[in-house]
């Protein structure tokens, strides 16, 4: 199977703090990959090094056979990103924000249809700051899908959404995956990961402590639910032991 994302030997430090150490992973086309780990384990740093908004100290990153920093413009015609921090121009309306990002692509998806699919179709004329946290989250997922991407990066995609909405987002993502899109998801939620991801990678203190399918994670840890398995594998049992 074709590898869409290939990371080898990725390391990154902030001053004397070694945020990511020697991370290697690969994601094959049309699959969904979940990057998990406790706060501060280096998840977002790995994701940001892959999309090129951070420069790795060492190691190699390739997305769609391209270097995300050197081939930035070419890559991001075919790749969508949703960051954890949803920032936008103060005063901007939903329709204006969508237009601003849609106009950057040669053949963008119809943003009205995307917003409708994500349940915010009636918000086009609202100010972005007047949306609820969950609505804003869905708007930024819609923005990441504007290029009709072959691969999309989603960081903490359903944080702040209610259970029904989370399930409807999973459904959309599973449909996109069935259509051949590759998904790279950074998440805290094991139910979400289990509903979407084919393969997961658990980070702890900047290192990979597990790689494989959710089933394999449960088998390895000897637990029957993924959350228990995750806590055991990431060494995050804390005071509960």
């Amino acid at each position: 199977m074709r590898e869409v994302i290939v990371v080898s030997g990725l390391s990154k430090s902030y001053g004397s703090v070694r945020a990511v150490r020697d991370v290697s992973l690969s994601v094959s086309a049309g699959s969904a990959f979940g990057l998990l780990g406790p706060n501060g384990s280096g998840k977002s740093t790995v994701a940001e090094c892959i999309v090129g908004t951070k420069r790795p100290d060492s190691g190699k990153v390739e997305v769609l056979q391209m270097d995300p920093r050197r081939d930035r413009r070419k890559l991001f015609r075919r790749c969508g990103v949703q960051f954890q921090d949803c920032e936008y121009q103060p005063e901007i309306k939903v329709s204006e924000l969508c237009e601003e990002f849609a106009c950057l692509y040669d053949r963008p998806a119809d943003w009205r249809a995307l917003c409708a699919r994500l349940g915010i179709g009636d918000k086009a004329d609202s100010a972005v700051r007047a949306l609820s946290g969950g609505q804003r989250q869905r708007l930024f997922i819609a923005l990441s899908l504007l290029p009709n991407p072959e691969v999309v990066f989603l960081d903490e995609l359903t944080t702040g959404l209610d259970p029904a909405m989370r399930r409807s987002i999973w459904k959309v993502l599973n449909e996109l995956k069935a259509g051949g899109m590759t998904l790279f998801i950074v998440s805290h939620f094991m139910d979400e990961v289990e509903a979407i991801c084919d393969e997961i990678c658990i980070l702890s203190k900047g290192r990979i402590v597990f790689r494989g399918s959710p089933e394999k994670a449960k088998a390895t840890a000897g637990k029957d639910n993924l959350e228990e398995a995750y806590l055991a594998l990431s060494g995050e049992m804390g005071g509960l032991r």
């Binding site: 999309v51 920032e87 204006e96 601003e100 950057l104």
Partner: protein, 249 residues
């Protein structure tokens, strides 16, 4: 081109909604004009002058808006977008630094144009100011003043770490240029030492160019060409630095 037009339209809407630039780049210059109009009326600039005081200050009044946009508006908007991580979002799209910078340049250029047109309309309707010089030369001088000042703003906005640092730089550039290059005080009344220093501001050069071409005094190619070359060089250097060393984050 379609991307430029869409970004231009939407960013312009945001800027007008914010109102700051409408006040500082359009209303403020008009207010200064009205005050000067009531003080000086149609009086001659000096004994035996062929032009009035207020005609003499037309070029200077045009630069108030150019200054506000280029040294306050533009750098602050771009650095604010950087601080809010809006530029980081643009970094993961095919957008280039130049489209972002030149969209903002076009917006503040438009403010300067609207200001110049409204000032001219008011000054000619109420205080009988007439255009006595060379229109093509005036337009060229105006354009060079706009591009050089806005490109300084692009450079500050493109490189400043955050909005706070950009606003310090903006103030350092904005107030001395506004006060000393002749926008508020006529260049001629300043002490010689001050004149010697402010001569180096691109805005001073631009204003002298606009003044001579508007009034039709001393508009030989020999006398204007060096000033124009300075402004072209400032524009080229600052735009190049802004695009080349643009910081997304």
């Amino acid at each position: 081109m379609k991307a430029f037009a869409t970004l231009f339209r939407n960013e312009l809407k945001l800027s007008v909604r914010n109102m700051n630039m409408v006040i500082f780049a359009i209303i403020l210059p008009l207010a200064v004009l009205v005050i000067q109009g009531f003080v000086y009326g149609t009086a001659a600039a000096f004994e035996g002058a062929s032009f009035s005081f207020i005609e003499q200050s037309f070029g200077a009044l045009c630069t108030i808006s150019i200054c506000a946009g280029g040294l306050m508006g533009l750098p602050l908007v771009v650095s604010d977008y950087r601080e809010r991580k809006i530029l980081k979002r643009f970094k993961v799209t095919p957008a280039t630094p130049s489209i972002i910078l030149f969209v903002e340049l076009a917006i503040y250029g438009l403010y300067a144009l609207v200001s110049a047109v409204t000032i001219f309309a008011v000054v000619s309707a109420f205080w009988g100011a007439r255009f006595q010089g060379s229109l093509p030369l005036f337009l060229l001088s105006w354009l060079l003043t706009v591009t050089s000042t806005l490109s300084i703003g692009m450079m500050v906005g493109g490189l400043a770490k955050n909005a706070k640092r950009a606003s310090v730089w903006a103030c350092v550039l904005y107030f001395p240029m506004l006060i000393f290059s002749g926008a508020t005080l006529p260049f001629e009344v300043m002490p010689e030492q001050v004149q010697g220093v402010v001569r180096f501001f691109p805005l001073t050069q631009g204003m002298q160019l606009m003044k001579s071409s508007f009034l039709g005094v001393g508009i030989g190619v020999e006398s204007l060409l060096p000033q124009m070359i300075v402004l072209v060089l400032v524009t080229a250097a600052c735009s190049l630095i802004a695009v080349r060393f643009f910081k997304w984050e």
